[in-house]
Structures are given as structure tokens and as C-alpha cells.
Symmetry: C2
Subunit: 178 residues, 2 copies
Amino acid sequence: MRKNDARTRVLAAASRLFYRDGIHAVGVDAVAAEAGVAKASLYGNFGSKNQLVVAYLRDRDQRWQERVDAITAAHTAPRDRVLALFDAYADWITGDGYRGCAFLNAAAEFPDPADPVREVVRHHKAALRSYLGAQLRETPDRADEVVLLLEGSAAAAVVAQDPQPFHIARRLAESLLA
Amino acid sequence: MRKNDARTRVLAAASRLFYRDGIHAVGVDAVAAEAGVAKASLYGNFGSKNQLVVAYLRDRDQRWQERVDAITAAHTAPRDRVLALFDAYADWITGDGYRGCAFLNAAAEFPDPADPVREVVRHHKAALRSYLGAQLRETPDRADEVVLLLEGSAAAAVVAQDPQPFHIARRLAESLLA
DNA sequence: CAGCAACTAGACAGACCTGTCTGTATGGTT
DNA sequence: AACCATACAGACAGGTCTGTCTAGTTGCTG
């Protein structure tokens, strides 16, 4: 087996299970089985379940940044880029298995603000704010408002099980950025 | 001990612990101990932990409705009533122990949309939508937008540990309702 | 070819979980 | 006064959790 292959597969399995079922609800045995990997390899690579959770969120943050970059590349005007984000979020719920923002879900399961998990969550949200701030640098207040619309629609879509919140948010964002 | 006293105390203890630490992280022994009640009384009154969780959320929903009614009573104009909601939310985070919306947190811990827990969550959000719809019945689109702003700011405030999201959302709501 | 790092399966300890059960005490109602 | 629903404390069963450990296997590298 190639070096770090076990690590990669554990991370992929953790991402699927933690996101789908919730973090506390998934044991390390389940992650190892889903990855097709021995538990010792999981502990050898990550040290503890908590560190695996942090790695899972960091990985997800990185993949999210890459997706945002891909969306950015397809448009030039800041306004189009931001609106494309709403479309991407709406597409996200259309494919099944939508469970909302993995970072907000993790924050719900880890109450202590000093927990390393919460630091990753803050980092992710800061990155979102930073991206929007860069796109809308001439109207910084708009960036904060768009963040609220994105977070709100992601949360509302979980309950509604429907992309409509994204459509409402997008329409509102359109008029905000007019 | 008076009839149903144990039930009331269990519900109060569950509300404290489930909200503060998360539902999966709190065992029934901890709830019984916090309530100063025997575990058999807990099971006699609620049947199972899952049913206790449902009762906890229903109770919270009811208390929330009462608070909203109190806020409503202090204002007459629909616009003032809605804006007062944002103020109440901002006050909420100012007192410590803020952990966001208990219903969104519960939804994060109970992934199955068919779970009774999720039904209570949908009921709560429908009540919020219904309240705003009644206040803003002449501009129903505004109601959906205000819901997004409230949900978004509640979620963002958890991560930020700061009432600023509520201020931003309130400012945006003000201009929406102008 | 030898050695080493990373993998494998699986048993194990110790803690915690939910839910049940036994047996006793107590307060309100008839 | 007698009864009964409800409360109590706490042991218990059966399962799952995290994390460790043993022992054997595989595959790259010098």
C-alpha cells in the first residue's frame, strides 16, 4: 500500500460519515471500517478522534476554498461571482445528502468556544467573509450582509429540505448588489 | 412531592444541559442528577431519552412563543414588532451561555428528516414564519427574507461569539421594511 | 537481500451509554 | 385508616465508546 493512502482513505471516510450522521454519532470503528483500514492505522495517522475531527474540518475547508476558486474563475464581475455562490449552494441541496454547513453542524456539537474544532470553524467563516470582502471591497457592508444571507439560507434549507431559501436569498442579494 | 413536580424538574434540567452541552453529549443519568430526581422517575414520565428530547424541544418552543408574544405586546406597529425581535435576539447573546438556536442545533444532531425531533424543529420554524407573515401580511416576501436574516444572524453569532451579526441583520431589516 | 516503516486483524481495558428492575418511602384520596 | 400512584436509591444487563496493544504481513529502499 502506498504511503499515506490509509490517511487519505480515513479522511474521505470521516468526511462522509461525520457529515452524514454527525460527529458524536460516528465511532472510530465505523470510520475505520468505512475506510477499509485498521483502527491502529487511524490512530497512527491522527492520534485521536478529536484530532481526526479537526483534520476532517480542515480538509473540508480546503476543498470548499478550491470550489469557490473554481466558481470565481468562471466569472469576472464581482457581482456575478457572488451570485454564482448562491447558485452553487442551491445546486448543493439539489443533490441529495444535503445536511447543511458542516462547520455550523460541528459548532453545534462542540459547545466549547476554546475547542480546536471551533477554531477551524472560525477560520472557515473568516475565509468566507474574506472572499466576499475581496469581491465587494468597494461596499464592505454588503459583504457582511451577504454572509448572513448565505448562512441563513444554508440553515433554513436544512429544515425546509428545499432550495427555496437559496432562491429567496439570491433574489435579496441581487437587489443588495444592484 | 407534588404531582408532576418530578416531570417539571426533569424538563428544566434537560433544557439546561441539552442546550448547553448538546443532546448526544448528555446522558440520562446526568439529567436525572441535575433534576435531583431518580432515573426511574425520568423514564416513568418520558418513556425514553428520545421522547424526553422531543418534550424538551416542545417546551422550548412554547416558551419561545410566550416570549415573542411578550415582545409583540410592547409594540403596535408591525415594523417595530419585527425589529424588536432582532433586539431581543441581540440581548440573548449578551447574557452568557448563548449557544445559538436550540432547534438548529438539534437538527444538526438528528440527521434523519423523518425523526420526531425534526418535526418539532419544522414546527418551530413554521411558527416563526407564521408570526412574521402575520405581522408583514402586506409584503409576504419580506417575511421570508426576515426569516433568513434571523436564522443567519443566530448562526453567525454562535461562531463570532458577538452580537454584531444581529446588528447587521437589524440594519438590513430596517431598510427592507422601509 | 536485509531492514524498516506502515499496514493488517482483532483482543482488550475501562469508561460510559440506555433502559430495566427490585425494593422502599411518601403523600394525596377515599 | 387503607390504598395507590408516584417518588426514591441504586444495582444490573447488554451494548458501545475511545484508545492501547500484540502479533503478523506487506512493500519500498538502501
